[in-house]
């Protein structure tokens, strides 16, 4: 019903190659974007923006970054936390060294060191695959976190070793620092997610993305048809780490405001990997769904007993949350091992054939 495509004709190649060839899809996406940019900041209160939506958006960006590498190019990585730390510390160094530089440019530049480091740690991927590669990228995780803790230059020699985002404006609005409103910070995070989601989607539809997917599906075959593994894999590491670096910059400057290296420990890498797996490998929508699932659902679950008026302590509520959340992950993986994005795709197929789905 909703997906009646009869009578929709495409008269140009451009229309046929559009990201969302079906108009209904396009409208939904436009509506969601409009909702996210206009309705949400005017309706949501500070708790929703600061504690739920901003972290979810930041992790979405990180999940998109990792999905480019793991989902599209098939290179398993556990270094996400480290690459994010690169972005965060680059933001700190750049914004304190060049206070007049626009923070937007700082964020975009912050991804570059992360990309360089990602390339470096991507070199082993030419020789090793799968779990072994995961272990090699684990080295990046531990090394980078150790480095930022050890070398005082990275945190401008302050005795505590914590980096704090200096207050910066963008177009007259405060976007970092404590005075920045939750709305401004939310819009910046949303802007980055929208931009990078669009870029990633287009990258994946083009030659580069197809080369990555060829490597993922069978690297020997890809090599035979003329794809160079060296440049392709390293490009995947570079682009992925760049996006993760920008996510780290936002995590530090937009979401938390001040961080220490512990904020980028191994658990962050795992968390982002789980987002990608639960959301759907090789899907931008999956990255978004996975990140929202993992960041938002636990918070909602924690609030359930209280909202229902159940007189249980916070400790028990937290344990229950862990149990229920764990069960939900198992449930979704059993129902659809290909992730939430695949679940959505199936629902869409059914809607197209409604009322006679098979």
């Amino acid at each position: 019903m909703l997906y009646r495509e009869a009578g929709q004709f495409k008269t140009t190649y451009g229309a046929d190659q559009a990201i969302f060839p079906i108009p209904q899809d396009r409208w939904v996406v436009y509506a969601v974007i409009a909702l996210a940019f206009v309705a949400v900041p005017s309706v949501a209160n500070e708790y929703w923006l600061q504690a739920i939506l901003i972290p979810a958006l930041v992790f979405t960006l990180a999940a998109i970054g990792l999905n480019l590498l793991t989902g599209y190019c098939g290179q398993l990585s556990l270094g996400t936390g480290g690459f994010m730390a690169c972005g965060a510390y680059a933001t700190y160094k750049l914004s304190t060294a060049f206070p007049e530089m626009n923070i937007l440019i700082v964020f975009l530049l912050s991804g570059i060191p992360a990309a360089a480091v990602g390339c470096l740690f991507g070199i082993p991927s030419l020789r090793i695959k799968g779990f072994y590669l995961a272990v090699a990228t684990l080295a990046a995780q531990f090394f980078l976190v150790w480095l930022f803790n050890r070398v005082e230059w990275f945190y401008n020699y302050n005795p505590s070793g914590t980096i704090t985002a200096p207050p910066r404006t963008m177009g007259g609005f405060m976007v970092t620092g404590p005075e920045a409103t939750a709305e401004a910070r939310y819009l910046v995070a949303l802007g980055f997610v929208a931009l990078f989601a669009l870029l990633a989607k287009n990258l994946m539809r083009g030659r580069v993305g197809r080369a990555w997917m060829a490597i993922r599906d069978m690297d020997i075959a890809a090599e035979i048809i003329g794809i160079r593994p060296l440049t392709t894999k390293l490009a995947a590491f570079a682009v992925s780490s760049y996006v993760c670096g920008v996510a780290g910059a936002l995590y530090f400057a937009i979401y938390l405001g001040s961080v220490e290296t512990a904020a980028f420990d191994i658990s962050v890498s795992f968390l982002v990997l789980f987002m990608v797996i639960i959301g759907g490998l090789g899907s931008i929508l999956g990255s978004i769904l996975g990140a929202f699932f993992i960041t938002v659902v636990p918070i909602l679950l924690t609030n359930v007993p209280e909202a229902l008026g159940l007189p249980i302590g916070v400790a028990l509520a937290k344990q229950l949350e862990n149990i229920v959340f764990g069960a939900m992950i198992v449930f979704f993986l059993i129902v659809e091992p290909h992730g939430l994005a695949r679940l959505w795709q199936i629902a869409k197929e059914k809607l197209r054939r409604w009322p006679f789905p098979y």
Binding site: Y47, W146, L300, A315, F332, A347
Partner: protein
Amino acid sequence: MKRTGKLALGVLTAAAIAVGGVAAEKAAAADEEIFIPLTVYRTGPYAPNGIPIANGWRDYLKLLNARDGGINGVKIAYEECETRYDTKLGVECYEKLKNKGAKGAVVFNPLSTGISYQLIPKARVDEIPLHTMGYGRTAAADGSVFKWTFNFPATYWSQAAAFIRHIGNVEGGLENLDGKHIGLIYHNSPYGKEPIPTLETLSEQHGYELTTYPVDHPGQEQSATWLQIRRDRPDWLIMWGWGVMNQVAIKEAINIRYPMDHFIGVWWAGSEQDVEPAGAAAKGYKAGNFNGVGTDFAVLDDIVEHVYGGDMEAAKEEGLGTVLYNRGVANMLYDTEAIRTAMGKYGDKALSGKEVRWGLENLELTEARLEELGATGLVLPTRISCANHEGEGQIFVQQWDGEQWSKVTDWLEPFHDVVRPKVEAAAKTYAEENGLPVRDCSQEG
């Protein structure tokens, strides 16, 4: 199979919407009560330390409500929020609780250095005072810059200085420190690095040699570090540890037969939970503290009577009389006395965070007042001012006798002449970095 999936998604969405709606409704229902948010960690890796503190907090507030009907007749509302000692969850709790109650949260106790660092800039904008009791950012002792943050009764730098004073006392005078070798084993995080500048400055003044031994989080694996300590054999060892790191370090110290009475832990490494795994073998181990230990306080008797209905056993189950429980009680005692001080100026009603901040800054706990509260010896008499948010900064050293902690020194004076200029310099740097105004404390009322 596919149908169940969709069903689940639907249920989930509905639940999410319901939760959002009900939560909003509840916030509006609070009446004229003082609201104190309690960010606790009763789960997660640090729960053994978090639970007694949270119980101490809760029980003291319960006591005030049950015995006195609140503070000056104004009931206290409180709500716990679980942080798991995780900074991200701490921020979530802060956002959730800051606007609850009649006039919002009146004071936050972040209970974690990481969360404190997050909240210090936010609390200033939201006008809610923070009380980071003996943790957090040391520079906050300078109230002219950190208007909204209080870290009395003592800071890490004062504590480090007090340890050196204690070592000097045991060695027979500070002049005997010359040529001594002091080791610092620390948690490799902002928290663990706190004492280093102070210890370095004092080492220049008193001529001891300082060696630092970092231990990476979480500190379960320390054999390499202790091999090095065994080789270096420092005369004294100071530990800035947290959680499982303490227990492992104490066991390792026993293994290398380090003289335990020359091993001093920070006040977060001096609870029953830290030494009990090693038990009697840890005998002689010392730690800093700023709150009285044991059950010998009238206020604790009142808690047993009014909160537990006279059941001492039940109270002890909840940690009554242990180091961290007593610390929780001391913490709430400070905060509620600050609220009482603020009521003296603004009247006996629900107060805002801004008003309670005034109360914290003008808090004066005299010996007589502590006597009335039944807390003589639980905390020291304290006086806070605009310039000084740390108070006296005095601590004492306690020692583990194999079964319990006992106070073995008098209250030790830190080297104010060394610590205070460093605090002011650090606060100044912070103010410059963040473009904060510096208050002129002679103008404050």
